[in-house]
Homo-oligomer: 265 residues x 2
């Protein structure tokens, strides 16, 4: 059957996959996988292949972007093809084009969702999901970070939290750390002077969301800027207005200083 099924691998390791996703792999004629859009720190391909009883073809960014995923479309032309993607298949927009191209040539497409890094981070923080504004990515220091700064400022004006994903270059095994991200944003603060990122700004650093050892640390920028969060991946939350229940959650789950109670009343 001509079919292309996008299956989310979820986060961290082989076990983030859903039972439905596993079933799709087992019944597929061809299985492809990419790992360049996101990091899965504890993922073991060989063990995963044993688990699924299927050979999995690893595809690079080149295969997808330069050759327009020809390889995958060709397989889907002749049989049920599964394309495995870290997290949720379309939370990053990288693969939307492939899905459009497939539909254009009459290949039926389906999505089997996976755990997305975004809901994992929100969920871990205990903050109210409906109080998050626009999400933004903080780039590596060589790129200006004015956009994330402005997004944080805009969300704050509206009393909303900002989830900041930190840039990564998986193939180069390069990850922007929480400390670097805070410094980058402070550099913008020095130029713009809007008091969006001051030493006393409250932030929540999140490391390894979705893994078995996630780490959350809520505090002031001045405390987090040198805090050791261990291994990647990393992300940052800049809260807007905090409800007292959210403060309780930050104290209970993110080791927030108890003075937060006095600060947010």
């Amino acid at each position: 059957m001509k079919e292309l099924v996008f299956v989310g691998l979820g986060l961290n390791d082989e076990y983030g996959l859903t039972l439905k996703g596993l079933e799709e792999i087992k019944t597929a004629d061809a299985v492809f996988m990419e790992t360049y859009t996101s990091r899965m720190p504890d993922f073991n391909l060989q063990h995963f292949e044993e688990l699924c009883g299927k050979k999995i073809q690893h595809v690079t960014r080149q295969t997808l972007e330069e050759e327009n995923g020809k390889l995958i479309l060709q397989a889907a032309e002749v049989g049920k093809t599964v394309f495995l993607v870290p997290g949720d298949p379309f939370i990053a927009t990288t693969h939307v084009t492939l899905r459009i191209d497939a539909e254009k040539v009459g290949i039926h497409t389906r999505i089997v969702h996976g755990i997305s890094i975004i809901s994992a981070i929100v969920s871990l923080s205990g903050l109210h999901n409906y109080k998050f504004g626009k999400t933004v990515t903080v780039p590596f220091p060589e790129t200006p970070a004015e956009t994330p700064y402005n997004v944080i400022a805009q969300n704050k004006k509206l009393g909303l939290h900002t989830l900041c994903l930190l840039d990564l270059r998986e193939p180069e095994n390069r990850y922007l750390t929480i400390n670097q991200a805070l410094r980058t944003l402070q550099t913008v603060e020095e130029q713009k002077q809007e008091k969006v990122i001051t030493p006393n700004t409250v932030a929540i650093g999140v490391a390894r969301a979705g893994s078995n050892q996630p780490m959350l640390k809520a505090g002031f920028v001045k405390d987090l800027i040198d805090f050791d969060f261990g291994l990647p991946p990393f992300s940052l939350i800049f809260p807007g207005e905090l409800h007292f229940m959210e403060v309780d959650a930050l104290i209970a789950f993110a080791d927030a200083p108890v003075e937060f109670r006095r600060l947010f009343r």
Copy 2:
């Protein structure tokens, strides 16, 4: 071991669970489950119990809210306890209090994430995740819908998309339909006259996100207001500024009228 593990069931049926979640259930001393925060249309408890090889205790809103989850905390005091929650355990804030209460009495808590309805909807739409603003819930007609109207207006001003969850009362098997939600928002429009929800406003209706038969329909409010979306659950997206790739996605995946191409250039 004194431990309370919150495990996300994901969406729709027994197979939305992750392999990790299944493992947690199999190794648990006690397993509880709630189904009142969200709908899992095709979930079969008996089959799920066979799948896990465990007896699962169904808990009501009363157990959790009136008795502060005493039942669950008592179990976690004496052994590894799993609490199953539809979607992702903390995307709804309902269970944050239970987690805080557990930590307060020295019960270690962990989260095994599940597919959240929010990333499923965003992912299905093909719209860019980072272009979504604040999420909002549209209430049943008996409650004023001014807040969602204002959130949609605010997001639009910023060029951002709005994801609207539609209210539901699972125990009463009652679901706000997309048609009703649009009418409710039109009523607010009649009062406020801000041209946020006009017959020519673009919207995307999403039904059964995460199921095997999701339905997406993008169009103008005047076309969607009587469109038959079939069975619940439902949600709505009001796009802000649309990138041409997002338009292509809406045409390919959400049956959007091709005139969208001319409209959003």
